[in-house]
Structures are given as C-alpha cells and as structure tokens.
C-alpha cells in the first residue's frame, strides 16, 4: 500500500529540495501545476546561458562587469555587433562558414542518396563488402584521422582553401546518411521504378526524376543534420586554416578572437550571438527534422 503514495514522488526526483520531499506523503499526486512550475524553472535555467550571452552582447564594455546579473542593458549597444562583424572579421567568417556548409550539404546529399539507392536496390559484385566496411567505420572519430587527412589534403594541393575543407568535411564519415537513404529506398515499392522503366526512363532518370523526389523527408533530415554538423565543425576547419586566418569559419574565429581580445566581453558575446543565431533559427523552423534525425538512431 505504501507504494501507492510513492508515485507522486518520482516525477520530482532530483529536482526538488529536501524540504518539499519530506511532506510528500501529504499529497497523493503532484498537481500538474507544480510539475509545470518546476519544469519551467529548470527550462529557464537551461537557456539562461544564451540569455546572458545575448544580454552581454548589448551592454557596453564596462556594464558587462558592473551590472552583475541584470539581464536588461541600460542602452542597447549595437556598436558591439559592428565591432564583431567588421573589426574582428566575423563578417568574413560568416561568409566562409556559409560557403563551406552549403558546399558540404550538397555533396553529402548527392553522394549519400546515390550510394544509398544502389545499395538498397541492387545486388552487385562488392555489395556485401561495401556495406560491411561502411558499418564497420560508422564511428571513426575525427580526432583519430586528422593527421592523414591533413597530409592527403596537402598532397592534393587543397590544404589552404575552402574547397579542401568542403571536400574533407563531405568525404569523412556520413555513413549514417547513407544508411538513412538505404533504409528509405528499401521501403519504396518496386512498381514505381518498373513503371518508369517501361516508359523508357534510364537508370539516371529513374533516380533523379522518380526516386530522389520521393525521398524528400530523408533528404530534409540529411540536409538538416549535415548542416548542423558542418556549421558546428571545429577541429578540421581549425587545422586547415592555421596559415590562412582569412579562411576561418565562425567556430575557429571565436577561438582566435578570444586570444586577441580577452577583455572585450561584449564584443565576444556579440560575435558568439552572430555565430549561433543562424543555426538556432534553422532549428526553430525545422525542429521536426532535427528530432527525426536524432531519433532515427534509436529506431534502426
């Protein structure tokens, strides 16, 4: 019988003070509003660092230190953004990041969709080997391969260029994307392709006109996840731009900014806000695809 009163406790495990836990036996169920209140407070604490960052980006350089925990700046200092954008070079970094991200997304979608399609639909010599190798290297981390990647990029003469960065980022890994396409194409009925072939469509046409358009939802997920990974990539862009500061991406630029202006907190906060806003906006508008992509790892 004692367990019947216990249930209410479990919704608050680790989230409530001991005082609240002691009188739990007084109530049989936690009212929903209490739960809502607790979750709201935790959620606010969760996003607080970002609120602090945006707030600091609008304060003047002294106010950041003196105003303490006050989040609302006295007067919004947009000049911080100008400083970050032009003086600290975040305008250039933004352009570099956009070029690298878009280039990588396009290459990854095309190559993974094509590979996923043939692996799902056809048996050919090397089919099994290829699947085995792909799955076997699903988790090769960037930290492990970075030295040979730099070496080979240098041999190809692409080390200090955005092209080299795009090729390296779209070449490494991405096995998960191939598997996503593979799973999806496997589920599409064969009749569709056969109908197209009867109508005289070739291999190429069938894929680009029939199959790829059908795979819209997978493409959306792959685009979103690749965008996320590339926008946030750090090690590879860092190592690829040691001798070319003008080719830095946002994540690398931030590190450099800190090295040069460690006292300019508001400029730093503005630069961080500039770098993070695009990816956060993308997430807010396309949440479903983010969640689908992440949850896909569990369902497969």
């Amino acid at each position: 019988m004692s367990t019947v009163s216990a249930p209410s406790r479990r919704w608050r495990v680790g989230r409530r003070s001991d005082v609240a836990r002691r009188d739990v036996s007084l109530r049989r169920r936690v009212p929903v509003w209490v739960l809502t209140l607790v979750v709201t407070l935790v959620a606010l604490a969760w996003v607080y660092p970002f609120a602090w960052m945006v707030s600091a980006s609008l304060k003047d350089q002294l106010e950041v230190f003196s105003a303490g925990l006050d989040l609302i700046p006295k007067v919004a200092q947009w000049e911080n953004y100008r400083r970050a954008w032009s003086d600290a070079g975040f305008g250039t970094y933004m352009v570099n990041t956009i070029i690298v991200t878009l280039g990588t997304v396009v290459i990854v979608v095309v190559r993974c969709a094509m590979a996923g399609y043939v692996l799902a639909r056809y048996k050919f010599i090397g089919h099994k080997t290829m699947l085995l190798v792909l799955v076997g290297t699903l988790f090769v981390p960037a930290g492990y391969t970075i030295i040979p990647v730099v070496e080979i990029t240098q041999r190809l003469g692409l080390l200090n260029s955005l092209t080299g960065m795009v090729i390296a980022l779209s070449g490494g890994g991405q096995v998960a994307s191939i598997l996503l396409y593979l799973g999806y194409f496997r589920g599409i009925p064969r009749e569709l392709e056969e109908a197209a072939i009867i109508d005289g469509a070739g291999f190429f046409t069938v894929f680009f006109r029939v199959m790829l358009p059908l795979a819209g939802p997978v493409t959306a997920t792959v685009v979103v996840l690749t965008f996320l990974n590339t926008w946030n990539a750090f090690l590879l862009p860092l190592v690829f731009t040691f001798s070319r500061p003008d080719l830095r991406t946002l994540s690398v630029g931030m590190q450099a900014f800190l090295g040069q202006n460690s006292v300019d907190w508001s400029g730093m906060a503005a630069a961080a806000t500039i770098s993070i806003v695009p990816i956060v906006l993308l997430f807010l508008f396309l949440q479903r695809y983010f969640f689908d992509g992440i949850a896909g790892a569990i369902k497969s």
Partner: protein, 324 residues
C-alpha cells in the same frame, strides 16, 4: 557466433559457383556499370578521407616525422614505446575514461527523467519545453566553450556572481582555473549541452510503450511507480542498452569543448586523449606526427573495443527484446 553457423547452409554457399551462372563476371560488371558510377563519389571521397586515414595512421605511427612535408624515417615500434612511457599519456587516458564513466550514467539518467516528465500526458507546453532542453545541442560547441569561460569567470561571471550574491560563497570559485574543479565543470557543461540528444532518444523509446497498457494498469489500481516498475521499465530495457552505448560513443569525443573551455589545462588536468594527440601533432614547436599517430592508433583501438562491446550489447538487447 551461433547465428552464423545456422545461417550458412540455408543461403547455400555453393550455389553461386555451381548453380546457374548465366553471365561472366566482366559482363556482370559491365551490365552494372551505372551502379558503380553511382557509387563512385562515395568510393573516392570515403576512401580518401576515411579508409585511407585509418590505414595510414598505422603506418605513420611507425615513423619519426617532424611536420607535414618533412622527411619520414622508419623507427619501428619506438613511438609506441615512447607513448607508453609518457605519464601524460596515461594521465589523458585516465581523464578520458573518468569523463566517460561520470558523464554517461548522468546523461542517460537525466535524459530519462526529462523524457518521462515531458511525456507526462497532462503537462502543458510540452513542445516548448522540448525545444528549450534541446537548444544547447544545436549550438556550436566551440563557441559555447568560449562563452562558458566567461560564464564561469571567477570575478564577473554570472555563476560566481549568483553564488556570491546569494551568500553561498564569500568569493568566486575559479572553476576553470583550478585543476581540482576544471574537469568537473567541463563535465557539467558537457552534460547540459548534450543531454537533449539522450532525451530525444528516450522520448522515441517511450513512444513504443503503448499508453493503453499504462492506463489499463492504472485502472487496475497500480500507482505511477508501479506502472513504471512493471510496465514501462521492462519495455524500455532494450533501449537502455542502446542509448547507453550511443552515449558512450558520443562522450568519448569531447575535443571541441575541452580545447575551447580549458585547452587541456590547468596543468594537463583536463587533457583528454584527443587534446593530447592534437598538442603533439599541431601545437608543439617541433610536431611529433609519428608519436601523435601512435597515440591516435591506441585511441582508435580503444574505440574499437568499445564498439565491439557495443555490438555484443545490442545483440544481447535484441535477444532480450525477442524474449519480452
């Protein structure tokens, strides 16, 4: 192991050789030429940037090699001997595993609690909460790391201001500047940053638990705890293994946050293996690429072992799921 022996005779290993072999290998390759054209981009890119690097690391680890473009001398297993003798390597080895041992259970548990709360049928604003808890996941780790240096600043960072203002402390704690707290601080930030992923895993898992079943049990008089213990939990067990293993894999890769928050310091107290490799390969005055490669190979073997355990774990979970 047993699965492969039962599978072999059924597929008929002899069939391709003696059975109807209508066309020769070359003709088959020619017939399938479009397939290979489609695979070409992946074969080239993947070969150059994933397969070749994995193989090359092994070769490089046998070389004395002081910088890209400089001569390479074969030194055999010397680098491995040096790595194993380096106490800082073992230090980073220890830190990497300590990090994993602490953050994985915490992440899995908090993720489950968050998911169960957000899955509560009567909780309002579920989607807004889910967005809030997932938000840190999408932000750039390297930038969050830099911002966190300021958030945990001993004098003017908001965390210390809150501690001092509320009277909990007389003066701020140098979270990242002291070797006794730096690692724990990064662990905390890492968990905050990534627990949203684990939460989504658990939410996906919870969706497979039929709500009717829970409600039926409740009608029969079982309390929330009993429902969890006897219905939800057993159904979630197979997922627990998979989610834990995915989280392990992710928590072994912490370079971005470590380098930007602490750079491996103070006094190497947060130098995980990835940062160790990076330091020897890119930031010492004379790069030790062979030595760094040897450390990378050891790291890779370590991950492979984790991967094998993972495979075994998933198999066990599948079997268990079949039984349940």
């Amino acid at each position: 192991m047993t699965a492969s022996t039962t599978g072999a005779p059924a597929t008929g290993a002899l069939a391709p050789r003696q059975g109807p072999r209508r066309i020769g290998t070359l003709a088959r390759l020619w017939r399938d030429r479009w397939i290979y054209v489609f695979l070409l981009p992946t074969l080239v890119l993947y070969g150059l940037y994933t397969l070749w690097p994995v193989a090359a690391s092994w070769w490089y680890s046998l070389l004395q090699w002081n910088g890209f473009g400089s001569p390479q001398t074969f030194v055999g297993l010397q680098n491995y001997a040096d790595v194993f003798r380096d106490s800082l390597f073992w230090n980073s080895f220890k830190i990497t595993f300590l990090f994993m041992l602490v953050t994985v259970p915490v992440r899995v548990l908090i993720g489950l609690v968050l998911a169960m709360v957000l899955n509560h049928p009567r909780l309002p604003f579920q989607r807004i909460f889910r967005t809030a808890f997932f938000l840190p996941v999408v932000t750039t780790t390297a930038i969050v790391g830099v911002v966190m240096q300021f958030v945990f600043d001993p004098a003017s960072g908001p965390v210390n201001l809150a501690l001092v203002d509320s009277g909990l402390r007389d003066q701020g704690i140098d979270f990242l500047g002291s070797s006794s707290t730096a690692l724990w601080t990064v662990m905390g930030v890492h968990t905050w940053k990534w627990v949203g992923v684990t939460m989504i895993y658990w939410l996906a898992a919870l969706q497979t638990v039929p709500r009717d079943l829970q409600e039926a049990a409740q009608v029969d008089g079982a309390g929330t705890f009993k429902v969890f213990r006897h219905i939800t939990f057993p159904l979630l067990m197979p997922f627990l293994v998979i989610i834990t293993l995915l989280t392990i894999e992710q928590n072994l890769q912490i370079f971005d946050l470590m380098l930007t928050m602490t750079g491996g310091g103070p006094y190497y107290s947060t130098e995980v293996i990835e940062v160790y490799i990076y330091r020897w390969a890119f930031t010492t005055s004379v790069p030790q690429l062979g030595f760094a490669s040897a450390a990378a190979v050891i790291f890779g073997v370590m991950l492979l072992l984790v991967g094998l355990v993972q495979l075994a774990g998933v198999r066990a979970a599948r079997r268990r799921a079949g039984v349940v």
